[in-house]
Assembly symmetry: C2
Homo-oligomer: 463 residues x 2
Amino acid sequence: MNEPDRSAALAALRQTLPDRSLLTDPDLMESYRIDRAMFCESGMPLAVVRARETAEVSAAMKIAHEFRIPVVPQGVRSGLAGAANAIDGCIVITVEAMDEVLHIDEANRYVVTQPGVLNANLARTVAEHDLFYPPDPSSKEFCSIGGNLSTNSGGLCCVKYGVTTDYVLALEVVLADGQVLRTGRTTVKGVAGYDLARLFVGAEGTLGIITEATLRLRAAAEKPRTLAATFTDANQAASAVSTIVKSGVVPSLLEFMDRTSVKVVNDEFQLGFDETVDAVILAQSDSGGAPGDAEIEEIARILRDADATDVIIADSAQEADALLAARREVLTAFETLGTTMVDDVCVPRNRLADLIDGIAKIAVDKDLTIGVVGHAGDGNFHPTVVFDNSDDDESRRAHEAFDEVMMLGLQLGGTITGEHGVGLLKRGPLESEVGELSLSIQRAIKQAIDPDGILNPGKVFDR
Amino acid sequence: MNEPDRSAALAALRQTLPDRSLLTDPDLMESYRIDRAMFCESGMPLAVVRARETAEVSAAMKIAHEFRIPVVPQGVRSGLAGAANAIDGCIVITVEAMDEVLHIDEANRYVVTQPGVLNANLARTVAEHDLFYPPDPSSKEFCSIGGNLSTNSGGLCCVKYGVTTDYVLALEVVLADGQVLRTGRTTVKGVAGYDLARLFVGAEGTLGIITEATLRLRAAAEKPRTLAATFTDANQAASAVSTIVKSGVVPSLLEFMDRTSVKVVNDEFQLGFDETVDAVILAQSDSGGAPGDAEIEEIARILRDADATDVIIADSAQEADALLAARREVLTAFETLGTTMVDDVCVPRNRLADLIDGIAKIAVDKDLTIGVVGHAGDGNFHPTVVFDNSDDDESRRAHEAFDEVMMLGLQLGGTITGEHGVGLLKRGPLESEVGELSLSIQRAIKQAIDPDGILNPGKVFDR
């Protein structure tokens, strides 16, 4: 392929887009080069298009298509797999400025939103109408709906309410040639043609740029009751989670923090946990009233039977909020300990103890700290390798540990990524998980929808 | 394209498959020609492969691929859109004999099943383990899981629990060249690569043949409480449904039957409804205990406020079962009145009254009976045109009415098919709903996955 004519493309962008939507100054573009994944390559874009509306995304995409220039779609770059990282000479199209909630349909319980809206802002906006958008990544205050869609994000209340794709009714997507596709529907059922909307969800910007989403909402849940349980043995905590899952009680949140995680948030949030604590389980019920009480009591009973040292039901909303805030901040708090690599394995929910156990062995074997925190009720953990990046040997061991944790997840019947995506970080192991045939079908679909391969090339799949 | 060498293909099938898995006698093949949609064309197959295992599906598909012979995948032919209808000279591959539930994982709450298992059999099998497979089409006693997957079937409890695709974790699919793809996972979250599983769901056998499914299960629900309400004006009933949806109460079932439907089941099941009844609403709560009582009371209150003539909460399970059985049998009961064409529109849930009203106008305009029954809580209705097929003018008007009902659904912001699929019956209107661009993307995906176009050609899309 001939090298594209980048200066002509840039001239076309300048001619077509309003000045405020186009950044070409290298200093300004610097912050658009990477997401929050560490150790992933990133290049310098030719230009950054800060689109204000679908028409601008479409116009930029048409120019990229005409000049065969790679496009990297971006939300707000909170991703953890490098999917939003710029490629040298690419056009970054960010939807961060498309941040309006467009319409709330109370009668049919859905919301139409632009993709740059932050997850927590969307949730707060619909809550004003007594409606509930459940998916709530820990990063909810600084991750966008567009990014959530592109990685099929989960979060803390997925254990009861499912993940992003479960809330998608319809999408507007700018395709590789700049055409604007509307797909899906506003009705709760429908089987007219292929489920294209759910194909774009989790595709990490390799099939199109999501410019609008119609998302299902639920009626507001009841005020949650929160419980925390401490264990002197993380394996017992993991087993207790499996018992809760099997019991049939469905908490609205069921989270796990290991010794390292507890220590780091204990120091930061003064939670008063004892030194002997090896793991903490947090659980919520949002069923309300007597059923909510019954659920929390049943969970407490299971945890006590599993030899929890302490089971505390939060007395106040403040107390509960402090616990939850601590949980949400763990990944950020790890960064105070050193350089971090955040993994994202998800295993069958009866293999949690095996996962915890296996990770502990890897940590010992590699002589490293691996903090383990996760959405225990989903079997989705974020083992985080903490290391000194200035130490070459430690860095090497850290990368090995990261890969071994992924492989452990696969061995336990799980997946290499529950909710962060493949991006650049996990392209290698992807084939180990899905197999050569699945990968060839995925590539065939990619080729069919983006024949020139200009949409986020090198992400998810090797080029 | 040259005409395929059908006699060589037949010889290859005979050589490859066990005798018991291959039917070539025209008399025996006759019953494999059509599903339950009326007025759809069907041809005579070259052979019917009654596969007992995936390897047989794969072997037959490889032969079809080698000789470029169209394949029509079939479940148990209970479909209502002609998707399973044979094509002249095709190979029918039916999975009806692959009818084993393979594995129930209680700890992780999923079931692995062959596709020929009947929906109700699957539900009963998992219920023995206190587990619950919610999607429950009215045809549950005579429709297969494979067919449910291929049309993304809904049912009566979707209003609370969602549709088939919401329960799909992993699939095994035989592809157009006979290769066996396993896609998806057993974990509850995952975003490693594209969501292929959900692309095969609802594809009506045009992308592959589903030979095994891993389906999510829920803990058994509580014993439901059932309510029936009668109205002297169907529009009031429809409005009441919209009010219930908006109230935030989520019943586990919310069904609607109009005058024609009530009359036909009243006669058959001796339900004792009055002549003046213009519509009946059935509702259930399976929340159990006090919350279930509260939900039923709240629904009853809304229905009374909407001028229901009578609101009866069932005293016994028998009474409730009789009501539900009547509802499930409506479509079959309509067949006693004449020839039927069953529609499947789904509209936003605040447009129910407009839909009922519009259908009544079409019925008057065409001088026909159109019975209306449906999953009101989802906005998904099955308006059924009843007519005398021996009367040419009436037949013409019936077909016109059928199409007008679909178009009315679209005008109200809905879809031409909520859960029956496109098949042969709705290929024409599909583009009106999804648009030319979406259709071109769908065709590109079809072309990528089935380049020779041998999988169920002419279904969903025109050839």
